[in-house]
């Protein structure tokens, strides 16, 4: 199929898309947006988290055919030009990035949390990030980053 999807505010087209492939595959392999990461392909790790019509989802669990005509916002769409989003800057400042593989998904999940809950409690942060696995950091610096971003906004 020819897939029409708005990605980061831009109307994009991809040809020869198999409707059953994942939105994640479309983003990475067909639209040149490798920010969303591919790890588990079963919704366990959250590293492929993107906004689909403003709702954070695992893009590995969205069929390409389901994304037709929808709006997607990926981690690449959070920064304003060269200016990082406050969540991204806070991950840098707090040292919340080690290998970096989980970072894009965590940044999108944290971005959504702060949009909904500007001043989250630690419990709310933990709950919001429960679907994002990080195998390096032990999460403490990530929690610091989210608190920092909440203060910065």
């Amino acid at each position: 199929m020819r897939l029409n999807v708005t990605v980061n505010g831009e109307r994009r087209q991809a040809d020869d898309v198999w409707e059953g492939e994942s939105l994640l595959y479309v983003l990475r392999e067909r639209l040149g947006l490798p920010g969303s990461k591919n790890a588990c392909e079963q919704g366990e790790c959250g590293s492929c988290t993107v906004y689909l019509d403003d709702v954070p989802v695992c893009s590995c669990l969205v069929a390409a055919g389901q994304a037709e005509g929808r709006e997607v916002r990926t981690v690449e769409g959070l920064a304003d030009g060269d200016a990082l989003d406050p969540v991204q800057q806070s991950f840098v400042d707090a040292g919340a990035v080690q290998c970096g593989f989980c970072t894009p998904g965590l940044v999108v999940a944290a971005h959504d949390l702060l949009n909904r809950v500007p001043d989250p409690s630690d419990e709310e942060i933990r709950e919001a990030l429960a679907g994002n696995l990080c195998r390096c950091t032990g999460y403490e610096k990530i929690l610091d980053a989210v608190r920092l971003a909440a203060d910065a906004r």
Binding site: W18, G20, G43, P56, A63, Q66
Partner: protein, 287 residues
């Protein structure tokens, strides 16, 4: 593979009648895993996410009709007061990302013995609304689960909604897992207490989710409905034993049969205490 994208329920039912092999997909949290891992290559996928009427809920005469395509996040945000037991179960599903996509209709379609909402649907006495070009019918939750990942749907039918009574007493759900998120239930339990009704059901502890009839009848007879006082430990313990005796679990990677049986007796005891407190609170409010 064909990808079928109806925008109305009538259109979807017509397609399903012609293509009974088409696999329905809503949130994709089960179906896409099978596709990603090449465990399944259906001849056709039937995308239900563009059918607005499946993503709505309404309340009439004390009954909530919950569209099959309403995601768990909305059940939690919008129906926590009317359907507290279902909302509790919905909170234990996966992660925020999964709850934003997954649906009760999908839980029913997959009919996994470990599905989180099944014990609540059984305990509340929910009815599953299914439709085909031949018409609409209701299947009681207890008749819906027919085997491991099997349900009572005919090949041309789609799950359209679930009907549940608005809570009037106490409802509880509890689940055992290794952490507080992203957990497939080791075992789970739901209990619903309202005047003249005891519903209780187990999950992930038998080939299908199932009601525990003997334990329900015991409670219905023994609970001090007219003068609701705290319950005796002996009564709670006996209830736990009866619940555990209804389980026929297996040993698998998530837990042993013996552990599941023991854990169910503990969940039953605890949730009974909480649900009875809820029921007593509702009686006080009415007085």
């Amino acid at each position: 593979m064909d990808f079928l994208r109806p925008t109305t329920l009538d259109e979807a039912l017509a397609i399903k009648a012609q293509r009974p092999d088409a696999v329905p997909i809503a949130g994709g949290t089960d179906v896409m895993v099978e596709l990603n891992f090449d465990h399944r290559r259906p001849e056709a996928l039937l995308d239900l996410t563009r059918i607005g009427e499946l993503a709505e809920w309404s309340t009439l005469d004390g009954t909530v009709t919950l569209g099959a395509g309403v995601p768990y996040t909305r059940v939690i945000d919008e129906l926590g007061d009317a359907l507290p037991g279902l909302a509790m179960a919905a909170r234990t599903v996966g992660s925020p990302q999964i709850r934003n996509r997954g649906t009760v209709g999908g839980n029913l379609g997959a009919a996994s013995p470990a599905g989180d909402t099944h014990p609540v649907l059984l305990a509340t006495g929910a009815r599953v609304e299914v439709a085909s070009v031949r018409g609409r019918r209701f299947i009681a939750a207890e008749d819906f689960y027919t085997g491991v990942k099997r349900n009572a749907l005919e090949p041309d039918e789609l799950i359209t909604a679930v009907r549940l009574p608005v809570a009037t007493g106490g409802e509880q759900f509890a689940k055992i897992g290794t952490r507080n998120a992203m957990v497939i239930a080791v075992c789970s339990f739901a209990i619903v207490l309202r005047e003249g009704h005891v519903g209780a059901a187990i999950g992930s502890a038998a080939p299908t989710p199932r009601r525990v009839g003997e334990a329900e009848r015991f409670l219905l007879g023994e609970l001090p409905w007219d003068a609701p006082a705290p319950l005796a430990d002996s009564l709670k313990r006996r209830f736990g034993e009866l619940v555990a005796s209804a389980a026929t679990p297996i040993d698998d990677v998530r837990g042993s049969a013996a552990y599941r049986t023991h854990a169910l007796s503990v969940l039953a005891r605890r949730t009974l205490t909480w649900a009875w407190d809820g029921y007593r609170g509702s009686v006080r409010e009415c007085a």
